[in-house]
């Protein structure tokens, strides 16, 4: 019983604080991104989309890596908590990928003159989006808890291979997209320091939002399981 209540109690206590921290850092990041950070010499103010686009893309990466870790955890231990974490993270990751895609498109129109173009980074990002939509589709089509969790976990392990591919895709020939500016192998970020600071604050804010969503979504998923089991008149399964 203690086993069951401890993490849930902990999660319940920490979630409001996570929410507050996320909201506060988001407010700070917004002010910095919209007012404090300097205007770009070449692009003007459009570049500020970066403060949404880049953190969204990076948090999508993080979310999908978490899906991978949670999937391994499920395959290893068969604890329902891991499956809940995997689905939560996958949904948020799809959301963030979508955000990065939309923000990227909006950014592309004024800078490149088109909404969309056939270019490695863009295409691989779209492919990543489709992959995890497929992941969610697989989950929605299988109804049986254990089987669904195992099938999804296998896919979660396989799909993560695409994250490095998206990241490295800019290095392929004829890339139009920005080359790595911040996360560069060897050498410091090639970015104005005020811009860099703003970007880092945005990334922190997005991370807190991610964590808040995660804690809420995992709780929903677990309580949904409990309700179904309760309605079926069976004893619920062991939670971590």
């Amino acid at each position: 019983m203690i086993e069951t209540t401890f993490p849930r109690g902990f999660a319940l206590r920490i979630r409001p604080w996570l929410g507050i921290a996320a909201a506060a850092s988001f407010a700070v990041a917004s002010v910095m991104a919209l007012a404090w950070a300097p205007t770009d010499a070449v692009q003007g103010d459009v570049y500020r989309i970066m403060y949404v686009h880049v953190p969204a893309a990076w948090l999508a990466y993080l979310a999908f890596v978490v899906v991978f870790l949670a999937s391994v955890g499920w395959l290893w231990s068969k604890r329902p908590w891991f499956d809940a974490a995997a689905v939560a993270s996958a949904e948020i990751g799809v959301l963030f990928t979508g955000l990065a895609l939309v923000a990227g498109s909006i950014w592309a129109k004024p800078t490149w003159g088109v909404w969309w173009t056939w270019e490695p980074r863009l295409v691989t990002t779209a492919v990543m989006f489709v992959m995890y939509v497929g992941y969610l589709l697989l989950r929605s089509l299988s109804t049986d808890f254990d089987r669904r969790a195992t099938r999804a976990a296998i896919l979660g392990v396989i799909l993560v291979l695409d994250v490095p591919i998206v990241h490295l895709s800019v290095l392929w020939a004829n890339s139009l997209h920005q080359l790595p500016t911040v996360l560069r192998a060897g050498g410091s970020p090639a970015l104005d320091s005020a811009m860099l600071l703003t970007l880092m604050v945005s990334v922190a804010a997005f991370t807190l939002v991610y964590l808040y969503f995660m804690s809420a979504r995992v709780a929903i998923e677990l309580s949904r399981r409990m309700t179904i089991w309760g309605a079926a008149g069976a004893q619920p399964p062991r939670l971590p």
Binding site: T124, V130, G134, L141, R151, L161, I165
Partner: protein, 222 residues
């Protein structure tokens, strides 16, 4: 009986059922052939003769053929619940996965042979480095097989599985398809270094998916 012998046994059962009712293989060969033919007919032979276009078409057709063959092979098992009989055998799940991958690779090899020769002859393609072409095709086939089998297993017995498998498999296959296309085009046009580099990437894909598949997938076969 060792694990490997069992894999061989499952693969040979698979292949003899396929030989008896060559649904998958013949469908795949037709598919590739017709795609090549129609393409050159409607698109015009000069465009289709371009090495990259031809290679891309070939690999897209092969990817679909792989999906068709693999789904058909599992459908055949589901016909009279034959799959269950296999799964309850000791070591059955692992042998099933390995055997299906092996049989799929063998069938695809045949399809690729026919489709490749057809493309070469009908589209009158250059063939600068024949050995490299064979290498790329073999490694491409080996890299396709495990991914497709994994995806078919994941969608097994689900409603709408015929829809799910392409949705799941094709995005995952994009990197392999691009590598295989580039590699084949390089080999056709005589760029040995590029052909070998792409072959290396294909080999890496084959190994990664093969190992991942063998370690975690059998548990999902039900």
């Amino acid at each position: 009986m060792t694990g490997l012998a069992r894999v061989g046994l499952v693969a040979s059962r698979e292949l003899s059922a396929e030989r008896r009712q060559p649904d998958g293989a013949v469908a795949a060969v037709t598919f590739v052939a017709v795609l090549v033919l129609l393409e050159s007919l409607v698109v015009g032979p000069s465009r289709a003769r371009d090495a990259t276009v031809a290679a891309a078409l070939f690999w897209i057709a092969l990817a679909f053929a792989a999906i068709v063959v693999a789904m058909r092979s599992f459908d055949r098992e589901l016909d009279d619940d034959a799959l269950d009989a296999l799964v309850v055998l000791p070591g059955g799940r692992d042998a099933l996965f390995g055997g299906k991958v092996l049989a799929l690779a063998a069938t695809l090899g045949l399809v690729a042979l026919v489709g490749g020769v057809l493309s070469l002859v009908l589209l009158d393609l250059p063939l600068a480095l024949p050995v490299h072409v064979v290498l790329v095709v073999v490694l491409g086939v080996v890299a396709l097989a495990p991914v497709v089998v994994v995806d078919v297993v994941l969608a097994l017995r689900l409603r709408a599985r015929a829809a799910l498998v392409p949705i799941l498999a094709l995005p995952v296959l994009v990197p392999q398809l691009v590598s295989a296309t580039q590699g084949a085009a390089a080999a056709l046009t005589g760029d040995a270094t590029a052909a070998l580099a792409w072959s290396g990437i294909l080999l890496a894909f084959a190994l990664v998916y093969g190992v991942v598949g063998l370690t975690i997938v059998p548990a999902a076969i039900e």
